[in-house]
């Protein structure tokens, strides 16, 4: 008995059980009362008997290891209804066996519980499920795990607090001090879930590719990368708890029952002009004054105190576009030609992966007039390579993009980001 137990290490058992679990899940069977027997035939005659037994279809025997030779043990799952008959047969023919698993279903239930536990609390960023949408707690756990696993490369900076006092967490990827930086943010509009999900993927991509991909490694030898995944955490929490379509911050507006400010109309660039609203009950409400929202102010303060950011990318969805300044005026940006050409390169790279069509151009000509926008401000601060993405799709699912598109979206977008970062690295200013 002990010999068999040793052989049946938990790993082996686990593997076999998982197979059964798969069958169980897809075949929708249960295995209550079923037992796993390990049979040891002592000669050719007993092997023949076991082969005969295996042909009795009405017994429903499930051989995990078929009878082949007397030196090899035979593993069979015996359904509950056949147990008495099988044990009688084995006893009558004096064929030796051990009960390895008393109740297969019990074991499956245990495994299931383990797996559920594992799903809710990934033990590492390798366990983390990138193909599903996560909530804020999950994202913050991910951030802490990533830092813990890659402490040479990654650190967490808290640049401020949201209106509801949530930390504004930024991941810093750095291989040395006093470097110029590249900024990426996702989730500034909380309902654009594919963006936060992509941000998580980008973070993992950076640590995976550092030291493996020469281009990224070279970029990180010269620049720091800053990544803010949940740029509007209050709004994001609200999309999970109350309203999936919430876009703005969650700060109340005095004199109004309507809550929230559009964080992408709150920047001091053409603030108050056409392309934003002065009505707190609208989705593009600009706020009482520029930088009135703590989520925006935190980034403004960070950018100003850093002083050496060279590229700034703010990620939204949906529409499949890559946009550069300006949104608040039709006056072309000083660097329009270069920005346009770089956008073309980035979009070409993006499209090469899954043939996803993107359009590109200035905000005001391509999508709509928008005042007080993020990248208009960053551009006016002197951050030349200021871009906004609008990720998948073009309106079929819109904000409710199926989770199976998260990774393909992140993968293709990463190619565009790499093109922008590479160009930044090769064109210092």
């Amino acid at each position: 008995m002990t010999l068999a137990r040793k052989f049946y290490s938990s790993k082996m058992k686990g593997l076999l059980v998982l197979t059964v679990l798969f069958v169980a899940v897809f075949g929708k069977k249960t295995f209550e009362g079923d037992q796993l027997l390990q049979i040891t035939a002592k000669d050719e005659a007993q092997i023949s008997l076991l082969k005969e037994l295996s042909e009795q279809e009405h017994l429903g025997l499930d051989f995990w290891r078929e009878p082949v030779h007397e030196s090899l043990p035979v593993d069979v799952r015996v359904p509950f209804h056949s147990l008495q008959a099988v044990r009688a047969f084995l006893g009558y023919n004096q064929i030796q066996y051990n009960v390895m698993i008393m109740d297969v279903q019990d074991l499956l239930d245990d495994e299931e519980r383990e797996m559920v536990k594992y799903r809710s609390f990934p033990r590492s960023t390798d366990d983390f499920v990138y193909t599903t949408y996560h909530d804020l707690n999950s994202i913050n756990s991910f951030i802490d795990m990533l830092v813990a696993e890659n402490s040479n490369l990654v650190s967490k900076i808290v640049i401020g607090q949201s209106y509801e006092n949530r930390p504004l967490n930024v991941l810093k990827f750095s291989t040395g001090a006093n470097r110029p930086g590249i900024w990426i943010d996702t989730g500034i509009h909380s309902r654009e879930w594919v963006t936060q999900a992509s941000g998580i993927w980008f973070a993992k991509k950076i640590v995976t590719d550092y030291g493996r991909d020469p281009v990224l490694t070279d970029i990180l030898s010269n620049y720091d990368i800053f990544l803010e995944i949940a740029t509007n955490p209050d709004g994001f929490a609200y999309t999970h708890s109350n309203d999936r379509m919430w876009r703005k911050t969650r700060k109340p507006n005095s004199g109004s029952s309507c809550v929230g400010v559009d964080p992408n109309r709150n920047w001091d660039a053409g603030f108050g002009g056409a392309g934003s609203s002065s009505n707190p009950c609208t989705e593009t409400y600009r706020g009482p004054s520029a930088h009135s929202e703590p989520e925006v102010k935190a980034i403004v303060d960070f950018v100003k105190s850093h002083g050496k950011l060279k590229a700034f990318v703010s990620i939204h969805s949906y529409s499949q576009m890559l946009l550069y300044p300006y949104g608040y005026t039709s006056t072309p940006a000083k660097d329009q030609a270069e920005l346009h050409e770089l956008a073309r390169k980035a979009v070409t790279a993006l499209q090469s992966l899954y043939n996803t069509r993107y359009t590109y151009g200035s905000i005001i000509t391509t999508i709509y007039q928008a005042s007080g926008g993020t990248i208009d401000w960053t551009y006016n601060q002197g951050i030349k390579y200021s871009y906004t993405f609008e990720l998948r799709d073009t309106g079929r699912y819109g904000f409710l993009l199926p989770a199976n598109q998260i990774v393909p979206t992140a993968e293709e977008t990463w190619l565009a980001l790499m093109a922008i970062m590479e160009h930044t690295r090769n064109n210092p200013y």
Binding site: T132, Y133, W193, T239, H240, R244, M245, R247, S257, C258, D262, G273, A274, G275, S276, S277, S278, N279, C281, T282, E283, T284, S319, S330, R357, T359, Y360, G361, I364, T365, T366, I367, Y368, Q369, S371, T394, G395, R396, Y397, G398, F399, L400, L401, P402, A403, Q405
Partner: protein
């Protein structure tokens, strides 16, 4: 809140005229051609008249929109003026040819131009391609051309669309699926109802796909009717579907849909009653705008 905004959406097209008059006095590079001068005069007069209309209004003045400076002549196909007009043509296409197994999406605009017309509207000429979402990424692209006329009237009125798509007649392969779907749900004991399709995570069951497509087609009637040069609508969700008693051998479905307008970023909710059968296609019988927050009042209609 949405009352104020909804009327804004409806009024934008008429106010854009007012804005054009203001704009042209500021722009330095604009050549003042004859039609533009007529437009300016017309707009100044209209502006004077509209001041009387505007003063009792409670909502704040509309931000001026750059769309009003949109060029006449050839348009950049990837920019929003052409795209919005193409989207309108697409809504029209779906009202005529959409079904539980066919919904068209815009693939690409190839060429576009716009011109002001005598009655005071703007007409877009478009050359674009569409794909059928139901046939997935494997489906062929259909080439279409359309004339989309946005009228310039005091109160919003629906754009007028003339559309030609090549090979439209050749895609009849969904007849069997339509029949099967119809037969399954026409019996009196069929009482389909569902909510939040797709859900927050973008999930939608196979079973629900035809209903979602029907909602999308029915919503196209509303989106078409409510469109202007300053809107760009998509349906984000079928908030609910409730099957009603069949009438005259038509499937009767009550939908609540959430529409998203890109320029304003507003989510607008509509309840509608639609009928469908393989022979008659989709018809929309009733529509009702539904406020999404407790303080909104109905739009002036």
């Amino acid at each position: 809140m949405l009352c104020a905004h909804w009327s804004r959406l409806r009024r934008v097209s008429s106010r854009s005229c007012c804005a054009t008059a203001l704009r042209s006095t500021h722009s330095s590079t604009r050549l003042s051609s004859s039609p533009e001068r007529i437009m300016k005069t017309f707009c100044s007069v209209w502006l004077l008249l509209s001041v009387v209309e505007l003063s009792p209004a409670q909502e704040p003045p509309l931000p001026e929109t750059a769309e009003d400076m949109a060029s006449t002549g050839d348009l950049e196909p990837t920019h929003y003026p052409a795209r919005r007009a193409a989207q309108v043509a697409l809504h029209y296409l779906n009202t005529r040819h959409g079904s539980p197994f066919r919904v068209f999406g815009l693939q690409q605009v190839h060429k576009a131009s716009a011109e002001d017309v005598e009655a005071g509207g703007r007409k877009y000429k478009l050359d674009f391609s569409v794909t059928d979402w139901a046939s997935g990424s494997a489906g062929p692209a259909l080439r279409c051309s359309a004339d989309v006329l946005f009228p310039r009237t005091e109160r919003h009125s629906a754009p007028d669309v003339k559309l030609r798509c090549e090979a439209l007649q050749q895609i009849n392969r969904t007849v069997q699926e339509e029949e099967a779907f119809y037969q399954k749900h026409i019996p009196p004991d069929s009482a389909v109802s569902a909510r939040d399709i797709p859900d927050s995570y973008g999930n939608m069951s196979e079973e629900m796909q035809p209903f979602w497509r029907l909602a999308r087609v029915a919503a196209s009637f509303i989106m078409l009717r409510e469109s202007s040069e300053n809107t760009e609508f998509n349906m984000v969700q079928m908030a609910s579907v409730t099957q009603q008693e069949s009438s005259e051998e038509q499937l009767m479905l009550e939908f609540v849909v959430l529409l998203h307008d890109l320029p304003s970023q507003e989510i607008v909710q509509w309840k509608l009653l639609a009928s469908w059968s393989p022979d008659r296609g989709v018809r929309v019988l009733q529509t009702e705008w539904q406020p999404r927050c407790p303080h909104a009042t109905k739009p002036p209609n």
